[in-house]
């Protein structure tokens, strides 16, 4: 489903962030991506949600070379990818429910058709009582859970999470982690980027480590 072949990437005239990255992630798998700050984790995810294009090599997503996609196709592909950003990227002028509903709204679905789905999602992340609350009034952990609900509400094939536990306490981090594991059990492909090696090694799941722009693979210690 996701294939990187000798992928290189740099921001404009900056140094190369990724070099000759080869990676294959099967559908339905759970993959941790780790590495120190600046190792290229976020860049790798940005390539995957089509916010950037590789400067060299080839990325294949759902069987298509991403550099050949038209603008409309990019939009269509993004609907099949749910993203949880490190900085949440919630829209402050919308309620929590409207933020969660965003992928469904932009896909043209009718509000009456997805209202129950959005409510269910917010209840799933434990925010059923905060439907009408706007992001500025939510805590960091609550914002993170709204972002998670938004990432999964449209039932995407791939879920990308960039440091989703980076700004929450350990108890909340565990709760968020459990949500991603549950999504993976539901058949979603999950790529979870985190620099918290201690946390991700608790799970017996594949780990891709980025160091100086190159990758090495391994496995978590215990389930």
């Amino acid at each position: 489903m996701i294939q990187f072949e000798n992928v290189g990437f740099r921001y404009k005239r900056g140094p190369e962030v990724l070099q000759n990255v080869n990676l294959e992630i099967p559908a339905g798998s759970f993959q941790f991506i780790t590495g120190e700050s600046g190792a290229g984790k976020s860049s790798l995810l940005r390539l995957l949600f089509l916010d950037e294009v590789p400067t060299s090599g080839r990325i294949s997503l759902f069987g298509r070379d991403v550099t050949t996609l038209t603008r409309d196709e990019i939009a269509w592909f993004r609907r099949r990818i749910g993203v949880v950003f490190q900085d949440f990227r919630l829209l402050d002028h919308l309620s929590a429910a409207e933020n969660v509903a965003l992928p469904l709204t932009v896909s043209g679905a009718r509000e009456t058709a997805y209202r129950d789905n959005v409510t269910e999602m917010l209840q799933w992340v434990g925010l059923g009582d905060k439907m009408e609350v706007r992001p500025p009034e939510l805590s960091g952990g609550e914002k993170q859970r709204v972002a998670i609900a938004r990432a999964v509400v449209a039932s995407p094939d791939i879920i990308l999470a960039d440091e989703p536990t980076g700004s929450v306490d350990p108890a909340m981090a565990e709760r968020i982690m459990a949500l991603f594991v549950e999504m993976n059990r539901l058949g979603k492909t999950v790529l979870f980027a985190s620099h918290d090696l201690a946390m991700i090694e608790q799970y017996k799941l594949p780990i891709t480590t980025l160091r100086d722009g190159t990758v090495s693979s391994g496995m978590g210690a215990a389930a």
């Binding site: 939009a75 002028h93 938004r150």
Partner: protein
């Protein structure tokens, strides 16, 4: 309040930019109404002048009194015998004096003036005679008369009216372009403020046309409302002008045409349509530029 408000709430439009757009469209619609009225009026003036002068001709008979009666009779005989001329009538002294009154500020004494004799000719508009042929026949008979079918005046008057009409149409086109430019500018500025929101929409899978649609809907209503206000004010001004009997008497061709409600509706719809098209162009251009 519902927790989910739908598409309309996605972009946080500012009242200030909406107010500015409304003001610009209203002002442009006001000017468009005057440009349209000017274009329609000059078209009607051209038609009135052309039609008024068509179907008629004049023959001027030399002012020399010698033999005037015989030459007038000769001219009338030739004219009545010419195909395409329905009637020919010699004006009496009183008619000629009336014609000259505007230039003399009072009824002139024709006994002291070398005024020419005038013959009014009614032409068959379907079959007007060739003026050169008529003139040749008059010359051949030694009538000392000049045939004038007003062709030169008709041409000049129509040309002048058409030129003014064209200017009015161009003014209308420029007004439309100004509305488009204003919408383009207002949206380009708004999109800078909405950059984060638009980015979030695109990352959620919004196509360019979806984002454009959000702006189009907003600018359709701004365009329509601006058009309604501007043209409404213009119509009120027209009604006011019409009520002034002096204006009405001087410019009868400014009477509202029977289709004015459609013209009004057309201006309102045109304002909305131009604003929508400009919005679409501005959004798509900006999104493609951002990559």
């Amino acid at each position: 309040m519902s927790a989910i408000r739908g598409k309309g709430a996605l972009i946080p439009f500012q009242a200030a930019s909406g107010g500015l757009m409304l003001l610009i469209v209203a002002a442009m619609a006001f000017l468009a109404c005057f440009a349209l009225a000017g274009a329609l009026a000059t078209t009607r003036i051209a038609a009135t002048w052309t039609e008024g002068l068509a179907g008629a001709a004049t023959v001027r008979i030399d002012a020399n009194e010698d033999d005037r009666a015989r030459r007038t009779s000769l001219v009338l005989d030739i004219l009545r015998d010419t195909e395409g001329i329905i009637d020919a009538r010699a004006l009496n002294e009183r008619d000629v004096a009336e014609l000259l009154t505007p230039w003399f500020g009072g009824t002139p004494d024709l006994g002291e003036l070398p005024a020419p004799g005038i013959v009014a000719v009614t032409l068959d508009t379907e079959n007007e005679p060739d003026p050169t042929v008529v003139q040749a026949r008059l010359d051949g008979a030694g009538a000392g008369a000049i045939y004038d079918d007003h062709g030169r005046w008709r041409g000049r008057a129509a040309k002048a009216a058409r030129a003014i009409g064209n200017l009015s149409w161009w003014a209308l086109v420029l007004t439309v372009l100004a509305i488009a430019a204003a919408a383009f500018l207002v949206i380009s500025i708004a999109m800078v403020a909405h950059k984060g929101t638009i980015e979030a929409l695109r990352l959620a899978g919004a196509e360019d046309r979806f984002v454009a649609g959000l702006y189009q809907k907003r600018f359709f209503w701004l365009g329509a409302l601006g058009g309604l206000i501007g043209s409404g004010v213009a119509l009120t001004a027209f009604v006011g002008l019409d009520a002034l009997s002096s204006v009405r008497a001087a410019l009868p061709m400014l009477d509202a045409p029977y289709y004015w409600p459609f013209a009004w509706l057309g201006i309102v719809l045109a304002c909305a349509l131009v604003a929508v098209l400009a919005a679409r162009l501005a959004v798509l251009t900006t999104l493609r530029r951002r990559g």
